[in-house]
């Protein structure tokens, strides 16, 4: 990644962590959200620029069916979340992409929609993938209720009391999104359309804005239904309860291929985070304010950990590790910085590497970044990628040069014996059913002949074997003319020198690979908390828990309800 010059500071400790460490699934699958996570980037911008929020349309009937519009008004442009609330029969509620109906559906509109826009959207948005949106829309999404919590909250509010905090904490959200489509999907505006707008400079800002406005909608719907049910007796959510409610997200395998298919983008996310860590480690002192902020961040993380539940055996073990780590960390932070050594933050980091589990180390990383906004927040400007600039294959490179890149950057792949069945046990494919990405067992499932090219390690290994038999000084252009099947992997390998964090350095088709590790890495960059696997391919998380609401002044009062 090419960091902008102004974002560079000299490194005392010299370095990013090694890609061979950072890009292993075990570590990616332990990623924690940081202040560089995309929802944090969004909230900082909205606050710094003084964005205003209104709800010009609220048209829901007694069953909670109807439409609403939320406007986010920035210094130059306004965006509107158009929400449709539905009455969904229980037997149709599914979080899978193959679902055909949802509790609520949404589009983020570029501007303020007119009545005719709303009518057009009402004909299409509830259909999701089966409808069409236009270049006026930036995202398309949907959400399902957490039935238990939703009903509990409506019931309590309608009777004039607040929901049970234990119930709130057990779930954490009223609705969970099951897909948020952006970037040109289903006719929506291409990313090129918005690329130059400062508010969308960081990745996934459209999606994050849409989900944050959705959180307001969820709270408004339960209050609306409580009022219908309880009349004068009904009360609104207390600010304390409301703050504890995030927006859930339920997601499957579709998220995993994304980070494989966008190697430069992945590289830029990881590089920004590693650069941030390196900057903090290189600091020569821990001033009292930063130490105090670190302890506050730790206290917040401790609360978050107390509310983080999972019934999945893998995650249970990791949470046990993390709780043990936090006990040690608490002791460590009480005496931090212990001595007046020259690099207190680096000392803390090195202690963590010695003492903590991988899960704990990644949590420590997040905590260490927290007090240093001024030093690292600008890195969020470097997290997008213009993939067009890295598309062309440099045909003038020789076979020998490409082989050297493989030897240097794909050691992990070349060390794997792909003739062993366990190393090719699975295959990624796309189902005809709504194009849902799936993972098959090679010796049990049909369709391996339509395998997707996500088995990067094997492709790299095959290229290496083939190049070893080709003339060293032959151009890769000539090699590809004879062996077009290697074109896909050659394009990636040529990125390796410039983008050290582009590849996940694990075998993605082995028998023991966990797709949830890929998903966790991506979700942590979104800013997700409460990572809760429901299988090795399916996960629920929470976004924006504890964050402010759009229709809320800092003093807790609300404005803008129209």
């Amino acid at each position: 990644m090419r960091m902008q010059e102004r974002d560079r500071t000299p490194m005392q400790n010299g370095s990013w962590r090694s890609p061979a460490d950072v890009m292993r699934l075990a570590r990616m699958g332990s990623a924690h959200p940081t202040r560089l996570s995309f929802l944090r980037v969004l909230l900082r911008r909205l606050q710094n620029e003084g964005w205003k929020f209104t709800r010009p349309v609220w048209d829901l009937n007694d069953k909670g069916v109807g439409r609403a519009v939320y406007c986010a008004i920035g210094p130059e442009r306004t965006y509107s979340l158009v929400a449709f609330a539905h009455d969904l029969p229980e037997d149709m509620r599914s979080d899978r992409v193959i679902a055909t109906a949802w509790d609520a559906t949404f589009a983020l509109f570029d501007g303020v929609p007119e009545e005719e826009d709303l009518d057009r959207l009402e004909r299409n948005v509830p259909l999701q993938e089966a409808g069409r949106v236009s270049v006026r829309e930036l995202s398309l999404s949907r959400a399902n209720r957490s039935v238990r919590l939703f009903n509990h909250v409506v019931d309590r509010l309608s009777r004039g009391s607040q929901p049970d905090i234990a119930e709130i904490e057990a779930v954490g959200y009223l609705m969970r999104t099951t897909a948020v489509y952006g970037a040109g999907k289903f006719g929506a505006a291409d990313h090129d359309v918005i690329r130059d707008r400062p508010e969308f400079k960081a990745p996934f800002q459209v999606e994050m804005l849409s989900v944050w406005l959705t959180r307001q909608f969820c709270a408004d719907v339960v209050e609306h239904l409580a009022e219908i049910k309880g009349g004068d007796k009904a009360v609104r959510l207390s600010p304390e309860v409301k703050a504890r409610l995030g927006v859930g997200n339920s997601t499957g395998l579709g998220m995993a291929p994304f980070i494989i298919r966008h190697p430069v983008l992945l590289n830029n996310w990881i590089t920004a985070r590693e650069e941030a860590l390196a900057r903090v480690r290189s600091l020569e002192a821990a001033n009292p304010e930063a130490v105090s902020d670190l302890r506050k961040a730790y206290e917040n993380a401790k609360v978050n950990l107390a509310q983080w539940h999972s019934e999945h055996p893998i995650q249970i073990a990791k949470l046990d590790d993390l709780r043990r780590d936090f006990n040690m960390l608490e002791g460590k932070l009480q005496t931090f910085p212990a001595t007046a050594g020259p690099s207190p933050w680096n000392d803390l980091w090195l202690w963590g590497q010695q003492s903590l589990s991988v899960e704990g180390q990644e949590a420590l990383l997040s905590l260490m970044l927290e007090p240093h906004g001024e030093l690292i927040d600008g890195l969020s400007d470097c997290m997008s990628a213009d993939e067009a600039t890295s598309f062309r294959i440099d045909g003038a490179m020789t076979n020998q040069q490409v082989r050297s890149l493989l030897d240097e950057h794909y050691t992990w792949a070349l060390a794997t014996d792909f003739s062993q069945p366990e190393n090719t046990a699975r295959f990624w494919y796309v189902s005809e059913e709504k194009l849902e990405p799936r993972l098959g067992e090679r010796n049990l499932d049909d369709g391996a002949e339509r395998e997707q090219p996500l088995c990067i390690g094997r492709l790299a290994s095959e290229l290496h074997a083939h190049l070893s038999k080709a003339p060293d000084n032959q151009s890769i252009a000539e090699f590809l003319l004879r062996h077009p099947e290697h074109r896909f992997i050659v394009r990636r390998v040529q990125l390796a020198d410039r983008y050290p964090f582009a590849e996940v350095q694990d075998n993605l088709i082995s028998n023991d690979m966990l797709p949830i590790d890929l998903m966790r890495c991506k979700l942590a960059f979104f800013g997700a908390t409460h990572f809760d696997p429901r299988s090795d391919k399916w996960v629920r998380i929470c976004l924006f828990q504890g964050a402010p609401y759009p229709l809320e002044h800092t003093d807790g009062t609300e404005n803008g309800h129209g």
Binding site: F186, D190, A477
Partner: protein, 237 residues
């Protein structure tokens, strides 16, 4: 369950609806890549097909239509049938079959700054090419690599591309979908021959053709496959 349709299952057949939907560039690229793969291209070449079709589409030229037509034409042909044989300044197919414009274009982009392309020394002449409009996006990539504007002569008509991806001159001959030899060289056409074209919707027949190819990259559903992809628990909680 409906078979996949990248522009939405709600889209009715051509007979029922005449106003084709405006696809995003991202959709065109994704659909055309899948179609290329479904038609038998390697994954890497299929990516080039998606790039080329979307590049043209964004400039108001019928990339998707030309690709659909070419893939139909090339059905059953092997790489060896349709890839260029590279000789200095003179590239043609090893058979009497016209060159694949994606294979030719990608190879040209690969070779842009190598002597075999002869672009910096003189000109490159090709044998007959199927749907030569699809070569234009690769000339743009080559122009960028060389830092020089390029021109291509097709059926006696000259079209230019600039280093920043503008199309100059007339594209009628290239767009006609006819098999033609090409002559490519460094040359800057008059800037006033640039014409802004608005995006033209992809017609439904093209979408259907591309969908049919793309479908060959997907796996038909089964109960086992469906069951294995989700949560182990109910979503009604």
């Amino acid at each position: 369950m409906d078979k996949h349709n990248p522009v939405g299952e709600a889209l009715p057949t051509a007979a029922a609806r005449t106003d084709a939907p405006l696809m995003s560039r991202n959709e065109v690229s994704a659909l055309c890549s899948k179609a290329g793969r479904g038609a038998g291209m390697s994954w890497g070449l299929a990516e080039e097909a998606g790039y080329a079709a979307a590049w043209l589409y964004a400039r108001g030229l019928d990339g998707p239509g030309n690709l659909a037509s070419h893939l139909t034409f090339a059905t059953g042909m092997t790489w060896q049938d349709i890839c260029p044989q590279v000789r200095i300044g003179q590239w043609s197919a090893g058979t009497s079959i016209p060159l694949c414009p994606i294979a030719l274009g990608a190879t040209l982009s690969d070779y842009a700054d190598l002597p075999e392309a002869q672009l910096t020394e003189g000109s490159l002449e090709t044998g007959p090419v199927s749907h030569p409009l699809l070569v234009l996006p690769f000339l743009a990539a080559a122009a960028k690599t060389l830092g020089k504007n390029l021109s291509v002569i097709c059926l006696g008509q000259k079209t230019g591309v600039t280093t920043n991806g503008d199309v100059l001159g007339d594209v009628t001959a290239l767009s006609a979908g006819r098999v033609s030899e090409l002559k490519i060289q460094i040359e800057t056409l008059e800037a006033d021959s640039f014409r802004e074209r608005s995006v033209v919707p992809v017609d439904l027949e093209t979408i259907e053709k591309l969908n049919n190819f793309a479908l060959k990259t997907t796996v038909p559903p089964s109960e086992r496959s469906r069951a294995g992809a989700g949560s182990l628990e109910s979503d009604n909680d």
